[in-house]
């Protein structure tokens, strides 16, 4: 069974997609079987969202619109969960309860 999903989300974290958020982001991405990718523009280039090397290399600052897409089993869940994580500012600061 194959599926695909795509969404965008605004990075509001003060420093952007830096080390600590990238660790969280890739860890979460890896919990899904689907292939997950990110890009800074709708037409790519696309990078493996499970690779911290690739995610960090985007050096996405605050205010960047992050494009997230997934394909394969659980693609929808993967995109939803990652969008949520970015929206929650990577759970930095206040403690959050994971809802997904």
């Amino acid at each position: 069974m194959s599926a695909s999903a795509e969404a965008t989300v605004l990075i509001t974290h003060e420093v952007g997609l830096h080390a600590r958020p990238s660790v969280k982001f890739t860890k979460l991405a890896k919990t899904f079987a689907a292939e997950v990718e990110i890009a800074l523009a709708a037409n790519g280039p696309w990078f493996d969202a499970k690779s911290i090397v690739k995610v960090m290399a985007t050096k996405a600052p605050k205010g960047t619109v992050l494009h997230i897409r997934a394909s394969g089993a659980g693609a929808n869940d993967a995109v939803d969960a990652l969008v949520e994580l970015v929206r929650r500012d990577f759970d930095e600061g206040a403690d959050h309860v994971r809802t997904a």
Partner: protein, 538 residues
Amino acid sequence: MSEPLRLQGISASAGYAEGPLFDLDRIAIAYACKENTADEKAALETAIDIATGRLAALIKIADGDAADILEFQIAMLGDDALSGPAFAAIASGHPADAAWRQALDVEIAGYETSDQEYFRARAADIRDIRDQVLRALTEDGDIQAPRGAILYGEDIAPTRFLETDWSGGGGIALKAGSAASHVAMLARSRGVPMVVGLGVLGLGNSPANLAGIALLDAEHGGIVLSPSKAEIDAFRQSSSSFFARRDRAGIFLARPAVTKTGTAVRVQVNIADPSDVDGIDIATCDGVGLMRTEFLFGKTLPDEETQYRAYRKVLEWAGDKPVTIRTVDAGGDKPVPGFTVEEGNPFLGLRGIRLSLARPEVFRVQIRALLRAAVHGSLKVMFPMIAVVEEYRQAAAMFAEEQAALATHGIPQKMPPLGIMVEVPSVAIVPEAFAEAAFFSIGSNDLTQYVMAAARDNALVAHLNSVRHPAVLRLVAAVTAFGLRAEIPVSLCGDAGGDPASIPSLLEAGLRDLSVAPAQLAMAKAAIADVSIQARPA
């Protein structure tokens, strides 16, 4: 047994350690190529695993930001995208160490060129990862430093410090390094003895020099290799007295310094670099008795703005407590390329104020920076190596001229009190000839070496180089007594001020104002509390 070898550096964290030397730099050149690409590949995989394991172990003892960075590094190491290019290079015939280094250098360059400060700073984290794996690759088995070893090398990474087991003693001796480094701060907070700046030649790399026991005296900043029996005995005595004193000293740090008989003594700190103040609580001292400015003149002559910012930082840190800045004291044992001159006898040559007056275009830049910084706190300025009063007058006149020029341009400035270092015997013998100076600061290191004609960097005459020689103490007492009569404040800012063994003699000579290295603050106060003095000598 080889001859004893002594090296002098700078204490970055006081203490004593006796143990074998462990060469930190040896591993960098020790990678042995494997027979085939499969073995090279396996070697790199193993090294990445070892490095990951070490970082994971460090997380357990780290917290906050340090733990976050470690977790980030572990995630990077676990990512095939990082090691992929290295494994590809190995497959095409490159040895594992070169393949890894090259792959990581590409990654590091990507961060270094970022236009965002945050991402540029990550380059250091990736370099650390690179070196961790290189170390694991090249060490071929277990080459953890033995417990109690003195880690010796060019410099040391914070991870290396954190993973070393210091419970069995040991210390750090660096050819380069800095007392302001992150590791130096860690070393001070953990009480690990550390000496930096032992010099580019260091101890040499001959096996004879690196084998055997070394004595690290991080109270005075020295190391001895292949010590004689007598040296070992003397070292152990200094060591045990140091630890006894340190145990008692902690409680004195936060208190004002007072002798046993109730006389208050001002204790200020000596600093060499503006960042030195970051690790000092201003509440524990009475100000800065000596801020050296040679550090600014390290490689190139610093511009006015650079100097202004450096002085202002320290003045703002000190608040309303005084900060005494010494104009550049280059020459002697502190050459500055493009500024000092080559001389046969530099300690008796063109150094200190003599050099500044000979190079007015350089000196005036410093004067302007000082005048501008003066509005940000309680600044005092002193001139080093004054020998005749004309030098003081000439320098003071230049201050007045520059002040007038700044005022004409509407630039905020303030004339600080101008004082002199008392370190040339001509001043110490006839202090009344310098009564127009706003204050005297006795530079006991130079005063001692000039009075005793014994170079302070020559171990062969070290026995002569003592501030406690009656000739030196008599001059100190005379200058102090004159200051009291003429109402000129007198302080002392040489190493003797922080030396517990010399403090009783200095107080006895009438001094009530000492300036010491930050690391010696607590011990100096403890030593003062042990002194009984009666009324001040008339």
